[in-house]
Symmetry: C2
Subunit: 412 residues, 2 copies
């Protein structure tokens, strides 16, 4: 907690053995990058208080509901404490400020200016708690001509260059089937909070700061050197299906059983092994295929040869043959395949997260794996206001009558 | 530096004003997740020493070269100091251990067991420096039946569920056009190093630990609640082009000028605004389109109406009309569009990174933005061994004759 040295943590936390024990986070953000950042911090031991309006976070009402509550909340609310505060009510705002006095990090995703309109401008928050790290998540950032544009991940994905280059040659540009902008921003937000806390730990005045995180920038900066390749070499990425512009073979092929296998040969020696394993060592002597550049130039002929071979074998046999032989191959998996895969079972990819209404719920586990202080999943997203008593009475010291009055007044 | 309190940093760093000033990182990883993590740390003020074999990092020789050096190295090597060590040479190994005594973080991406085979097992490293955080990056993790499979991001992407669901209905599964597995692991690696350092700061014994980061897990866990939706509701994501399974309209439409625009209407009021803005307020009264569920059921009819409207307008006009009216729309951009966009210019999306051979090189800037201790880009990837003298003579205290001898012996 603020101004402590974090040498003791008399704090409730979902995953007390995690590396972030002692860190206190308030998550007032909604779908989905901000809550994803807060989930990362909670997964690894932080005490995370999810502050929702009395109407509940939008993610509870998102599509794909289980017993009335969306799978989004089941996941994104995991390992968090659930409290309600009406920030538009003066007593709600006061309660929020008292909570903020206890916190190291605040995560919000309102449109620029809306936090200020609630009387919770960063300067106000820093008056109460100079150590607070404030992560502000928006589509385009706090500044610039698009700052106030309503945005979802779709818009960031469309403008990032990814969508233009995603799809088959001759086909339309294609949005990604997963929310990669929100996911990237979730990860980058978690890193940037920790970076600001590193800075604070070295500051004799123990000062926090404001982090301005945009979905677009988080996604765009995750990609490799596209800008540099364009700047220096004039390369504009075009749609090429599953082929790669600079190495071959790299594609997806359909096998005899209808399943698909992905191949890549980023290194020459892997291509050599691959040709030998499919019974075509002669290709290694063929000038069309004996170097990466040559293979990329003759990719159409090469893919015809490989596709013909694949069509005569089942996918599982292809993957075994190639991976055992030191080439790179992978099946194209869907969710049930992932759940059944021995590697992922061995790594505990899937957690069983308890819920209060529908029993354990399966979801991805906490990764990566730490040798000495593991992350984990102790519960899925909790019922609305489930932890009001814990935080407002036991932690902040209100008496139960005050709590009841706040509730009656619509402040929580 | 280890065992210091980080209250002073008499350390060279590319971005000394960044939040991670005082952090010392050794990057001995190759393409591309591990170096991406190290780049994040360097961008925000850490002192990052890139240790390459005397033959040079593989990313230098990757495709898309500028003056003989790949754009990958130009980007991934930025803000790092470049030194060479032959880890197979006993004197090289000794030099590495001396460097490790000064470090907070080591990043490596060898196949499981290879670091141990070099005599650099984590236990050995921790004997020299108990505070060291060791980030180990692999395709599948350090354990399990696939631990030793050669892997690139392509394989992780194929098995993550993303590729299966990516593409047009009736078309093949499609690999992503960007290296999203490496990017996700780069971000997650940076977060997890900082989490381990938070833990270390609270440990009276100042102990580091080992982090086992897999490309697959980093990518898979970035996505939303796919596992939960399957577990609870039996939903298996299928290819549906740019449509979303649970909201409509959400798609990409071609405009009169041939350019594409992405639309999403995750909230009802946004759909209402959208229909009014395209001159069809009547659709808001139409039972087929008046709720999210209804729109999703009648998406084919809806997309015909929208596509017809889009084909009569130019993309820029569509985006202006819709975003000014409070709906969500975005152009599908490619790299030159991104470089010319006023929002991205306003946010300084692109940095000009100095190089020693070809002048400034454009690349993505350091994000997110910190209010008090900004990240930045001071140089692009440096020449091989450019900083051997700085680190081995000035920082470790070898005399120049020793350096010359190490070079002559093939140890650096």
């Amino acid at each position: 907690m603020t101004n402590s040295t974090h040498t003791e943590h008399n704090l409730p936390a979902a995953v007390p053995g995690g590396p972030l024990a002692g860190l206190v986070v308030i998550d007032m953000a909604t779908m989905m990058a901000g809550p994803h950042t807060a989930m990362m911090l909670a997964d690894f031991g932080a005490t995370v208080i999810k502050v929702e309006s009395p109407a509940g976070d939008t993610s509870r009402a998102s599509p794909n509901k289980v017993n009335g509550t969306s799978v989004y909340w089941r996941l994104l609310g995991r390992n968090k404490f659930a409290v309600t505060i009406n920030l538009k009510h003066p007593k709600g705002r006061d309660l929020m400020l008292r909570l903020i006095e206890k916190a190291d990090v605040l995560i919000e995703n309102m449109r620029p200016g809306k936090l200020e309109a609630l009387g919770l401008a960063p300067a106000t928050l820093h008056e109460r708690n100079r150590g607070l790290v404030i992560l502000r998540v928006t589509g385009w950032g706090q500044t610039g001509p698009y700052a106030n544009r309503p945005t979802f991940g779709t818009q960031a994905e469309a403008m990032s260059g990814f969508t233009y280059a995603n799809g088959q040659p001759g086909g339309p540009p294609t949005l990604p089937p997963q929310t990669i902008a929100d996911g990237a921003a979730g990860y980058l937000g978690a890193f940037s909070c920790m970076a600001a806390l590193w800075r604070r730990a070295q500051d004799p005045l123990h000062r926090g700061q404001v982090i301005d995180l945009s979905l677009f920038e988080a996604l765009f900066c995750m990609f490799g050197p596209s800008i540099t390749a364009y700047d220096q070499l004039g390369i504009v990425p075009e749609r090429r299906g599953s082929r790669a512009p600079v190495s071959a073979p790299r594609n997806i092929y359909q096998c005899r059983d209808g399943k698909w296998v992905a191949i890549s040969c980023a290194a020459d020696q892997i291509a050599k092994r691959f040709f030998a394993l499919i019974g075509r060592p002669d290709l290694n002597e063929d000038a069309r295929f004996s170097s990466g550049d040559a293979r990329a130039r003759h990719v159409e002929e090469l893919d015809v040869i490989i596709a013909a071979w694949m069509s005569k074998h089942d996918a599982a046999d292809v993957v075994t043959l190639l991976t055992d032989g030191g080439a790179t191959a992978a099946p194209v998996y869907t969710i049930p395949d992932i759940l059944a895969d021995p590697q992922f079972i061995s790594r505990d990819l899937i957690a069983q997260a308890p819920s209060e209404d529908v029993g354990p719920i399966r979801m991805q586990n906490a990764f990566p794996k730490f040798s000495e202080s593991a992350g984990g999943v102790s519960w899925s997203g909790r019922p609305l206001g489930a932890d009001n008593h814990l935080w407002f009475v036991e932690m902040l010291g209100l008496d139960p009558e005050q709590l009841a009055a706040l509730h009656a007044e619509g402040a929580i």
